[in-house]
């Protein structure tokens, strides 16, 4: 390995002249630049989507209508969901993939660097359109991030056409990005980097990218049918013409369920890197992790109708989807077991990345359990479309996906910037987040069980106390993220110099490179032991 890093340094001197100025970012073909762009864009969207969540929680602080109109409230829930899913979580993972995958597999860059730039720059365009539609006559999308027909067809605002085409180009961006990831992993590994030697982050992204290429086109087809139903007189989702609104839900969730795994599989890879590093032990059960990820991905194509238990499907279908859904928790359980087994008798230390990773394991598991409850058809009849579902998916997405992204940022920041982040502020960010996030989402379980429906701007009086608590948690969580912003800015501008390998127990090719990583990764392939 020493020889590899020596040549690396020589090349650094030759190649490390970065282009300067704004155009560097606009024209770049460099995987690190593009990774940074994705991450910065994602953080911006996280703040924008977060601001909308603050509007929602402010309105729900008390029963009755105080601050916004119901129609605007609906636009806030809709655009909050769309932005967090497609603008914050997915681009953050793509940014991490861009930064890390070439370094981890010993490749000089992504396989198709120009296309990589294109994938990124489509995103700001798509979200500008989406956000601009909020200011149009009749308002922006107000039919929920799931845009069920007929809400998105018969009853939708005039701006729906723009929503449709914004989703189209954001889909193009995701598909091109995913193709780039697959091709990079399949074709660009350094000699000796066999599939079963790849870090799990690479593995989970390979499978995620496959899911993306498989289901983003289905989303494109769905929005297309919404478009023709609304504007061209088709009746895919209208019974009078021979169609069926339930058909919408089938097609949407055929995309939608794999989509939720798209937002969690890369997290599994991140956690599988961080837990061993701070336990100073090898990951327990590497190959079972790979197989578990693959089986989760395959099963995710067979469970979509667990979102539709109350639509009146035949009993056989209800049972099929119930059992398949429960089956998914088996490989998920394998993963949680492996992480815990990795920590068992390790020499643990609790730096910020590790804190977020441990919180991920505990809180994601809570989300998994509530998912299991929802998967039981007869009880889902009660929980469906209540705050219980909202609690479930925020546990898996906020304390799951987003916590893992934060863990990843803390873990790899020294490699990206060449500086250590401020550990004291990092810990503050962690504790503020982990406490407030539970105040925010845990009471939602009870609100849901007691019957409070989701997506309402007003509610019955008996829910007032819990909603107040939830809103306070929400504001606190929102404010806590400003600490994160400070940490990131401080770390980018300076701080203690980071060594090549700041974490004693970490493993992987990226830690053999100097910090900050040179502008061009492995220009000659490293040697793999």
């Amino acid at each position: 390995m020493n020889t590899a890093s020596a040549t690396q340094d020589e090349h650094e001197i030759e190649h490390d002249h970065k282009p300067k100025g704004l155009m560097r970012w606009v024209l770049t073909t460099n995987h690190k630049d593009i990774g940074s762009l994705y991450l910065m864009f994602s953080f911006l969207m996280f703040l924008v989507g977060g601001a909308m969540a603050m509007v929602i929680r402010a309105e729900l602080y008390q029963p009755g209508l105080q601050i916004v109109e119901p129609n605007f409230f609906n636009q806030m829930t809709t655009v909050h969901g769309l932005i967090m899913v497609f603008g914050a979580v997915m681009p953050a993972f793509t940014g991490l993939a861009n930064w890390l995958i070439p370094m981890m597999i010993g490749a000089p860059d992504m396989a198709l660097p120009r296309m990589n730039n294109w994938s990124f720059w489509i995103l700001p365009m798509a979200f500008s359109i989406l956000l601009a539609s909020l200011f149009m006559e009749g308002g922006g999308p107000n039919f929920g991030w799931t845009f069920y027909a007929p809400l998105s067809t018969t009853y939708s605002p005039d701006s729906t056409a723009l929503f449709v085409f914004a989703v189209h180009i954001m889909g193009i961006s995701s598909i091109l990005g995913a193709i780039n990831v697959v091709v990079t992993i399949v074709n660009m590994r350094a000699p000796g980097m066999t599939y079963m030697k790849m870090p799990l982050f690479v593995w989970t992204w390979l499978i995620t990218a496959f899911l993306l290429i498989a289901v983003m086109p289905v989303l494109a087809a769905t929005v297309t049918m919404v478009l023709t139903d609304k504007y061209f007189g088709t009746s895919f989702f209208a019974a009078a013409g021979g169609g069926d609104p339930v058909l919408f839900q089938h097609i949407f969730w055929f995309f939608g369920h794999p989509e939720v795994y798209i937002m969690i599989l890369p997290s599994f890879g991140i956690i599988s890197a961080i837990i061993p590093a701070f336990s100073r032990k090898k990951l327990f059960g590497y190959s079972s992790m790979v197989y578990a990820t693959a089986s989760i991905a395959l099963l995710s194509f067979l469970v979509w109708a667990h979102h539709m238990f109350t639509t009146g499907m035949p009993v056989a279908a209800e049972l099929f989807f119930m059992y398949c859904t429960m089956l998914i928790s088996v490989p998920t359980g394998v993963k949680v077991f492996n992480w815990v087994a990795t920590m068992w008798r390790g020499s643990l230390t609790f730096e910020t990345p590790m804190l977020f990773a441990i919180a991920f394991i505990v809180l994601f598991t809570i989300g998994g359990f509530s998912g299991l409850m929802l998967a039981i058809t007869p009880v889902d009849f009660q929980y469906h479309d209540t705050y219980f579902v909202v609690a479930h998916f925020h546990y898996v997405l906020v304390t799951g996906a987003i916590f893992s992204i934060m863990a990843a940022c803390y873990y790899w920041l020294p490699k990206w910037t060449g500086h250590m982040y401020d550990e004291r502020l990092g810990k503050m960010h962690f504790w503020a987040s982990v406490i407030s996030v539970n105040v925010l989402f845990f009471p939602m379980h009870f609100l849901g069980l007691a019957g409070m429906p989701r997506r309402v701007p007003d509610y019955a009086l008996q829910f007032a106390d819990f909603n107040q608590l939830v809103s306070i948690g929400g504001f606190a969580f929102g404010l806590s993220q400003l600490i994160f912003l400070v940490v990131l800015i401080k770390c980018a501008r300076g701080g203690k110099k980071a060594p090549a390998k700041p974490w004693e127990g970490s493993e992987g090719l990226e830690w053999n490179m100097p910090s900050p990583a040179p502008y061009h990764s492995h220009t000659t392939p490293p040697e793999i032991k």
């Binding site: 155009m23 024209l27 770049t28 073909t29 490749a107 000089p108 860059d109 396989a111 660097p113 120009r114 296309m115 730039n117 294109w118 720059w121 489509i122 700001p124 365009m125 798509a126 500008s128 359109i129 005039d158 701006s159 056409a161 723009l162 085409f165 180009i169 193009i172 598909i175 193709i179 697959v182 091709v183 074709n187 660009m188 590994r189 350094a190 000699p191 000796g192 066999t194 290429i213 498989a214 289901v215 086109p217 289905v218 494109a220 087809a221 049918m225 478009l227 023709t228 504007y231 007189g233 088709t234 009746s235 895919f236 019974a239 013409g241 021979g242 169609g243 069926d244 089938h250 055929f254």
Partner: protein
């Protein structure tokens, strides 16, 4: 991975084309959305923006592909780069397959579930009786529950002719490819030209079929779910044939300019994959939309 040469992978320097492409897509998305909103009104700002967007994208493709051709001619690309391109194209075609799969899925769902249920099957007896007691659950759905009527398109005649045309074109393209690999430029040029003509012929007949459907059969895009699935499936397929024919035409033009060698012809290969894919989709259409 010992057989894979990993050194000297060409990483292009900065490029203008991607950002041009992103701006093109911005125009297309706003333009298309606005065009749709402006249906039935005098305003035409949407179609202008859409046109500008399409022009930008076409310019981007010329510029971008030209850069690639120049780099390839300079010998900057390795076998590994070629694999990247090929794998990228294969995955792109897979994503297209999934796009069509969604529409086929809608077709199957409507035929096997939605329409029988509207007719009272499964646990929907009362729905059928109360909402639309006269509704007949048949496929093709010539009378919708609301009472709109249409006629079904037969598979004989134009569709059958088009099937033969597309199948033939796949064979001629394959022979053209063989010609390229044998460095038989005459064979390559002639058969590629025939393939382009067959593609055009397909499109002409398809247009005739649409005219026939709209003028004489009352079969329109909004004629209930039969017309919906018919036009969306054949329409998106026709769009892909159009793109494929343009791609083939560009290949023909490049062949005439002396491009491609038996060893290096990724663009030709990709076009031919794309064409075969379009052909296979048509077979699915012919069976499930026309015959069955």
């Amino acid at each position: 991975m010992a057989q894979q040469q990993t050194t000297n992978y060409y990483v292009p320097a900065q490029s203008y084309w991607p950002i041009v492409g992103a701006i093109g897509l911005l125009f297309i998305a706003i333009g298309a959305g606005t065009t749709v909103q402006q249906i039935g009104s005098e305003a035409s700002s949407g179609s202008w923006m859409l046109t500008i967007g399409i022009v930008i994208i076409i310019a981007m493709m010329f510029g971008w592909f030209n850069d690639v051709i120049v780099e390839s001619d300079k010998g900057l690309y390795s076998a590994q780069m070629d694999r990247s391109f090929r794998q990228g194209m294969s995955w792109f075609i897979f994503s297209e397959v999934m796009f069509f799969a969604a529409f086929f899925g809608a077709l199957f769902y409507v035929r096997t579930i939605a329409i029988p249920w509207l007719g009272g099957a499964s646990n929907n007896v009362m729905t059928g009786q109360i909402l639309w007691p006269d509704f007949e659950a048949v496929w093709p759905l010539v009378t919708t529950p609301a009472g709109d009527t249409t006629t079904a398109m037969g598979w004989q005649g134009l569709p059958l002719a088009n099937t033969i045309i597309l199948l033939t074109s796949s064979i001629t393209l394959h022979i053209a490819h063989k010609g390229l690999e044998e460095n038989n430029r005459k064979k390559l040029t002639a058969l590629l030209a025939i393939t382009v003509l067959l593609g055009v012929a397909f499109l002409v007949l398809q247009a005739e079929e649409y005219v026939e459907a709209y003028r004489h059969m009352g079969l329109t895009l909004s004629a209930g779910v039969y017309g919906n699935t018919f036009f969306l499936l054949t329409g998106f397929h026709g769009m892909h044939v159009t793109i494929g024919t343009i791609m083939l035409f560009v290949m023909l033009w490049r062949v005439l300019k002396g491009h491609f060698t038996p060893e290096r012809h990724f663009a030709f290969q990709a076009t031919s994959w794309y064409w075969h894919f379009v052909d296979v989709v048509w077979l699915g259409l012919f069976f499930f939309v026309y015959i069955l």
